[in-house]
Symmetry: C2
């Protein structure tokens, strides 16, 4: 087995979902290892962190509890703030649940993460408590253990914080970002989903070729009005 | 001969320089055709154009004449403005000269453009009248014809304007952006220079594979603190 690759991802991101599916195909076939790593788009894109070398706004410093829903229509500015806070909280809730799931082992971590991704991006379910509990069942987690591990909110936040810290040090800016055993790291955004081994192998090989080419390729990015074709 | 590729470039950009060198190797070998296209980073990155669907600030609307140099130290804000204006003017001057050189044919256009690129990025010469005239000589232009063509400033500005208009329609955002005969278009940034045919062939093939992969690859971009290695 080759040394492990790593994949930084955020549950909100459909590209990260496809990246995890690709990685799962290759690891199930025993061809590549991938370590799951957490990266927060809510944090990375937060206005307080714009232009900063190190984050000043951390997802792990935010509260979990959702504000009590209100029927009263707020001014637009406050509505936007409320929407953003709900986004932040659902993101944090999901990451902490994933950290708890990971305490049941590597396969549990993969199965839970993919179950959440599929619920959110295939079945359009929100990232909330119901989706998390359904994913825990789909992944076959020990639910009692899962509940107990989730109680250790401080420990889970600390784990997540160390993930986000390392992502910031590497300069991850989007998901999925794959890191190869040699240290090469790049955002790899693709539009199409595969769960086919031969296809996954080809896409992964192409990614490695770009990162290892003598050209020293830093970026290949489509022009805005010439998007990639969806399969 | 296959239908022509296109390459959008700006003389200020070292990545565009390497792109043009790569393209020149392949066209000299008779393997690929490339059409030279102009794209302005000064325009694309101008603050007035930020977030706009269509540019409102155009390089072709700017004056050519350089402000009389002043020994007087200006306030920092005005110094920055002056530097920016000098950048804009040298950029426009070079593009218009390149449009004039192109009137002497395709080979003249390539030879002049590469001579300017090499003077600026290999020999660290500024983009100014002296560099332009030296490049015209290096490229073996008919200098009398070149001078006459440069007199038609209005016609040259109109040509440049149509280039910048098309670049904006495609959504070019950086240089070099290569467009393949099938319409696939992407920014292709690489750190290393090659003038070797076999190497150029490999790098070009890899670019095409990324753009044509079934994955629908939209972006491969290195993490900020894991840059590509220079050869």
């Amino acid at each position: 087995m080759t040394p492990a690759n790593e994949i930084f991802f955020d549950f909100v991101c459909p590209y990260a979902w496809r990246g995890l599916e690709l990685a799962q195909v290759l690891r199930k076939a025993g061809e590549q290892e991938f370590k799951l790593r957490h990266f927060s788009l809510a944090q990375s894109n937060h206005e307080d962190n714009a232009g900063k070398d190190k984050p000043v706004w951390w997802l792990t410093d935010q509260p979990l509890a959702e504000a009590a829903p209100s029927d009263q229509k707020l001014p637009e500015k406050d509505e936007a703030k409320k929407r953003h806070m709900a986004f932040v909280q659902s993101s944090l809730l999901t990451f902490l649940a994933a950290e708890a799931a990971a305490r049941q082992g590597e396969e549990a971590s993969w199965d839970f993460s993919l179950a959440v991704f599929r619920a959110h991006h295939e079945d359009n379910k929100p990232l909330n408590e119901a989706t998390i509990m359904e994913a825990a069942q789909t992944a076959g987690l020990n639910l009692e253990q899962f509940a107990a591990d989730r109680e250790d909110e401080q420990g889970l936040r600390a784990r997540l914080r160390s993930e986000l810290t390392e992502a910031a040090e590497i300069g991850v800016f989007g998901t999925p970002t794959f890191i190869l055993p040699g240290g090469e790291a790049a955002y790899f955004r693709f539009e199409n989903l595969t769960r086919d081994l031969e296809t996954a192998r080809q896409w992964w090989k192409l990614y490695g070729e770009v990162l290892n080419a003598d050209a020293g390729i830093a970026t290949i990015k489509r022009a805005k009005n010439r998007p990639a074709k969806k399969a």
